[in-house]
Structures are given as structure tokens and as C-alpha cells.
């Protein structure tokens, strides 16, 4: 028997896969461009051959690509994906399109950890200093996470409560960061501000590995619950009646989101926008079937961060342009144009 609705559903799925392919190509292209663009320009062909045939390539470009550009470009891809996935899931479990990974206060806590390390006199330029900043940022983001998790756990994971706790902690840590800025010396202040803007300058192969590992662990952990998370969008009561343990699911996703956010923020500072807008765009394009929504959010996050990195390098040849600023400058016009072009509202 031929079912007309089956046809329609299959073409809907095909459309979603098409968007996926489109953006995976775009993200890959942006990634290569990100490697090519810089103070000593390389052609896309040079980039490609240096990566694919490292043995037979020009030693100078090989050093530039492998030691400097590639780790940064990969960091842009992985951090973009981490933040966008975290954003998509925070919006899902809190049933709030305005939520982002930063709503939970984790980034502010990480910022406080980082700023505290700097003000305590550890210079940003020394290697040990950098690592300490990241470690301290990680520790404080976990302090923040544990407070939210604990409160959520005793109060049956109510989403209103999670948001309120998150926002309260956000203000607390922001106040503490301001306090540190107030007492910091001029040099320290500059370091703090630079860190808060977000940057990929401290990328290395070890940070790349950590971020990749975290993605490889947490994406599958989320993926096994994609249908349940989609069903959660019908409301807690409906989800419960469909046999979903809503409380357990929310707490589990809270853990995943916190780790993804913390790993991104600790290595690259508070890059805004990527956790908020890519999920919106993904939602407009493919809806909220998480099997497509989450991967597309991740791709868009990577794409935006790569583009921002390219844009930053083009605008600012010598110094380092904070990527967090570039993401917003590039992303917001794009996002607004999408909103204006889209006729029927989907969010």
C-alpha cells in the first residue's frame, strides 16, 4: 500500500539531510579558509596539501599550519560545536528559547576562576600561568554546576528553579569578577578583559585533544536520549505520561551541558552568541527533531566561530582581534536577516 504521508515524511527527512550536507560543506570550507588566512597568507591548495601530504610540503608552511593555524582552527570548530550543542540542550531542558549555556552562570564562574588566578599575580604569558588559569576556571565552573545540580536535585529538577538559580549565580560571579577588576592592576585588568572577550590564542594540541575527547564522550551520551529530549518539548506532564523519567533526564543533560560549556569557556574565555543563536537558526531550518536539530546546531556553531576567526584576522592584521566580538559582529546581522526573511514564525 502506498501511503502519501510516508512520502511526505521521507521528503521532509531528505530536506533535513540536505541542510546537514550543505552546512557540513560550509563548515569544512570555513575551517580550511581559517587555516589559510593570516599574517602570511597561504592558498587553499597549500593548506590542503600541507595537511594531506605533510612529508612533501614546504617546511615553512608546514610549521605555520601544523604548529599554529591548525590547532586554532580546530579549536574554533570544537568550541563552536560544544557551545552550540550546549545551547540547544539548555534551551530544550529549560523550555526557554532565550536560555544559553551562559544562563546557568557557568561561564561567569569560569571567568571568576580565571580572573582570580590573574589577580593573584600569575602572568598570562608563562605557560604555567595559562594552564593554571584554565584549571581554575574549570574548578569554579564546577562549583557553580554543583550548586545548580544540588538545588535542582532536591527540588525535583524544576526548570524555573534551574533558571533562577543559574541567573542568581551568574550575577554573583559577575559581581565577583567586577570586584577583581576593581582591585586589579592595569596589566591584570587588560588580561582579564581580554580573557572575558574570548579568544583562541591559547589553543594548543593538548587543548584541542581535550575538547575533542569531551565532544566524543558527550555527544553519544546525549544522542541516546534524542527522542526523549524531543518528547520533552511537549511538556513535562506529557513526557512523564509517555514513560520518560523527566527529572533524571534533565539532571543528566545538565551534567553534559555543564561539561561542554566549561571545556569551551576554560580554554577560550566567554565567547558569546555561539551558544544562543546557532540553535535558533537550526530550529528554523529543521525543526526540533533532535536527531537533526542538535547536529545542525553544532555545525552552525563551528561555522560561525570559524568565520569569526577569519573575520577577526582580516580586520586586524597585527594584533589579535577578540573572537568573541567578531562572532557577534558577523552573526547578528546574519541572524536578523534570517528573522526578517522567514515568513512564518517557528519560534
Amino acid at each position: 500500500m502506498e501511503l502519501p504521508n510516508k512520502e511526505a515524511y521521507e521528503s521532509l527527512i531528505r530536506r533535513k539531510i540536505l541542510f546537514f550536507i550543505l552546512f557540513i560543506s560550509a563548515a569544512f570550507l570555513a575551517f580550511l579558509l581559517d587555516i589559510a588566512v593570516g599574517s602570511s597568507g597561504l592558498s587553499l591548495y597549500e593548506v590542503f596539501s600541507t595537511i594531506v601530504f605533510p612529508a612533501s610540503s614546504d617546511p615553512t608552511s608546514s610549521v605555520i599550519v601544523w604548529n599554529f593555524r591548525l590547532p586554532k582552527a580546530l579549536m574554533a570548530v570544537f568550541i563552536g560545536a560544544s557551545l552550540a550543542i550546549a545551547g540547544a540542550e539548555v534551551q530544550t531542558i529549560l523550555d526557554n528559547p532565550l536560555a544559553s549555556p551562559y544562563t546557568l552562570g557557568i561561564s561567569a564562574a569560569a571567568g571568576f576562576g580565571a580572573a582570580a588566578t590573574m589577580v593573584l599575580g600569575l602572568t598570562l604569558t608563562s605557560f604555567a600561568g595559562n594552564v593554571l588559569v584554565s584549571i581554575n576556571a574549570f574548578i569554579f565552573s564546577f562549583v557553580c554546576f554543583f550548586v545548580i545540580y544540588f538545588i535542582a536535585k532536591v527540588k525535583s529538577a524544576s526548570k524555573e528553579l534551574i533558571i533562577l538559580t543559574g541567573v542568581a549565580l551568574l550575577f554573583l560571579f559577575q559581581a565577583l569578577v567586577s570586584l577583581l577588576q576593581y582591585i586589579a592592576t592595569d596589566d591584570q585588568l587588560q588580561n582579564i578583559v581580554f580573557w572575558l572577550f574570548g579568544s583562541l590564542e591559547n589553543s594548543s594540541w593538548s587543548t584541542v585533544t581535550i575538547c575533542l575527547l569531551i565532544l566524543l564522550i558527550f555527544i553519544p551520551l546525549l544522542a541516546i536520549d534524542f527522542w526523549k529530549l524531543t518528547a520533552l518539548r511537549l511538556g513535562d506532564e506529557k513526557a512523564k505520561s509517555l514513560g520518560i523519567d523527566v527529572e533524571k533526564l534533565r539532571l543528566k543533560v545538565l551534567i553534559c551541558v555543564s561539561v561542554l560549556t566549561a571545556s569551551a569557556v576554560c580554554f577560550a574565555g566567554t565567547i558569546g552568541f555561539v551558544g544562543l543563536v546557532p540553535p535558533h537558526i537550526a530550529r528554523m531550518l529543521v525543526g526540533e527533531d533532535q536527531r537533526y536539530f542538535v547536529p545542525l546546531s553544532a555545525l552552525l556553531g563551528s561555522l560561525f566561530l570559524s568565520l569569526a576567526s577569519i573575520g577577526g584576522k582580516i580586520c586586524c592584521h597585527k594584533g589579535v582581534f577578540p573572537i568573541g566580538i567578531a562572532t557577534s559582529l558577523i552573526g547578528v546581522p546574519f541572524f536578523l536577516s534570517l528573522i526578517i526573511m522567514k515568513r512564518s514564525g517557528s519560534f
Binding site: 502519501p4 511526505a8 521532509l12 524531543t230 518539548r233 511538556g235 509517555l242 512564518s344 517557528s346
Partner: protein, 260 residues
């Protein structure tokens, strides 16, 4: 299927809403009626597994706490009083979610067929690819009714399913529910405010008032002027038509609620 409640009680933040509810229901349509805030929705949620009441709920002689979770999920389904959502999902996807317990990464042929079937017999095929939020109130309600039917439940719990439906859809919905309940030996419990629908389609009526069961039994034994007056506070004219169906005509309020 047989459903039995023994001393069900429930409180919201230590504010008691259900007090020692006891009943036995078997394979037919039960209408749950009663004034606003009587506890109808709360009772349905307790039976649906959304809330966890004290006391015990027994399905086919077995306590639900001892039933396998998988089995329990498959056998009952629940339609909330208002299914609001701002999810960005197509109607087709919303219906798939009715079978969320059995979906794997790739949606199976069986599931696609189940969705197609339910869309067809409810006459909403043309809505399949629409966004759930771009539907009218009644269309949305039809989609959520379809979602609650898609699992072929043995225990069907519906909270005011006629909300937002026009007269034709109300009538056809009840004809349909009556048919499947009989054919599949289901137990269907429907919270309702329309006493005429309850009298016409229910085999059994349970009247709730202030968190307790006031009375229960066949429509003609329960829907008396006395009961209606004491539970709802109105005078009603009750007549029987040629098919033996009760007609309830509300006349006036005994004690006014509005102070206008």
C-alpha cells in the same frame, strides 16, 4: 482490562486534593464529572503515572508498582487538559512521539504506518506536514487526541477531550471512542463537563466533589436532580428521550458564585 483504585490520596505541597479514592472499573467508558477543582485532572494524572499518589492502583489484579515499566508505558496513554507546547515540530513528528518508548534512531516502517493510519482515520491527513503551532485550537486538540490513540492503549485517560472541538468533531470523537473501547476491550476514562455527552456515551459515571467520590454508577442512577443540585449547585430538568438517553437541561443556579 480491569482497573482498581485502593485508597488513592494525593496532596500538592501538603495541600490534600484527593482523599481515599476507591473504585473498580472494567472495560468500558467511564465519565468523570464534577465541578471545577474537584480533583478530576489530578485523579487522571495519578492514574497516568504523571503524579505519584499514596495508596495503590491495580491493573488486571496487579499493582502498577510491580508491573514492568515497558508494559505499563505501552498499555496506557493520557491526554492532558491543555496540551500547550511551543515546540517546533510537524504534526507527523508530534504523532511519532506518541510511540517514543519504541522509537530507534531510524524511524521504522511500522511507526510510519501507524502515524499514517491514525492521521487517516481521524481525517487530518492534510495537516501531517504542518507545524504544530500553526494549527487552530481544535486542530491542535485533534492532533493530541491522535497522539494518545496511536499506541493502541488498553487504558485510555482523557482530560476534557472535547475542549476546542466543534459539534461535529465532538460527536464523531465520542462515536469513535465508543467503537474502539468496545472492539478492543479498552478501559476509557474521560473527564468531562458536558453532562449530556456523559449521559449519552458513558457506560459508567463517577461524580467527584472536593477530592472525593460523591457517587458512581450508570448514567440514569447517578444523574439525578438531587445529585446535580448538591454537586453543581444548580437546578436541572432531566428527561428521557425515546432512545432511553437522558437529557439534562440546566435551569438556574441555587447559590450564586458570581457576585455581579
Amino acid at each position: 482490562m480491569k482497573l482498581e483504585a485502593n485508597d488513592l490520596s494525593f496532596s500538592y505541597n501538603s495541600h490534600p486534593v484527593l482523599n481515599d479514592i476507591n473504585f473498580k472499573i472494567e472495560s468500558r467508558i467511564t465519565a468523570l464529572i464534577g465541578p471545577n477543582a474537584a480533583g478530576k485532572s489530578t485523579l487522571l494524572k495519578c492514574m497516568a503515572g504523571v503524579l505519584e499518589p499514596d495508596g495503590s492502583l491495580i491493573i488486571n489484579e496487579k499493582d502498577v508498582k510491580d508491573l514492568k515499566k515497558e508494559e505499563l508505558i505501552r498499555s496506557r496513554s493520557y491526554l492532558p487538559q491543555d496540551s500547550k507546547t511551543n515546540a517546533c515540530l510537524s504534526v507527523f513528528e508530534t504523532l511519532l512521539l506518541g510511540m517514543v518508548h519504541s522509537l530507534s534512531w531510524k524511524v521504522g516502517e511500522e511507526e510510519i504506518e501507524a502515524v499514517s493510519n491514525v492521521l487517516e482515520y481521524m481525517g487530518i491527513e492534510d495537516l501531517a506536514m504542518k507545524n504544530i503551532n500553526e494549527l487552530s485550537g481544535g486542530q491542535k486538540q485533534m492532533v493530541f487526541i491522535a497522539q494518545s490513540l496511536i499506541r493502541n492503549p488498553q487504558l485510555l485517560l482523557m482530560d476534557e477531550p472535547t475542549n476546542g472541538l466543534d459539534l461535529q468533531h465532538q460527536l464523531e470523537l465520542f462515536e469513535f471512542i465508543q467503537k474502539i473501547t468496545k472492539e478492543k476491550g479498552m478501559t476509557t476514562i474521560i473527564a468531562l463537563h458536558d453532562l449530556n455527552l456523559a449521559a449519552r456515551y458513558a457506560d459508567n459515571i463517577v461524580v467527584m466533589s472536593k477530592g472525593m467520590i460523591h457517587s458512581s454508577g450508570s448514567p440514569s442512577s447517578v444523574l439525578t436532580q438531587k445529585t446535580i443540585q448538591s454537586v453543581y449547585g444548580i437546578n436541572a430538568d432531566i428527561s428521557v428521550d425515546t432512545d432511553g438517553i437522558l437529557w439534562i437541561k440546566p435551569l438556574n443556579s441555587v447559590r450564586k458564585v458570581f457576585r455581579s
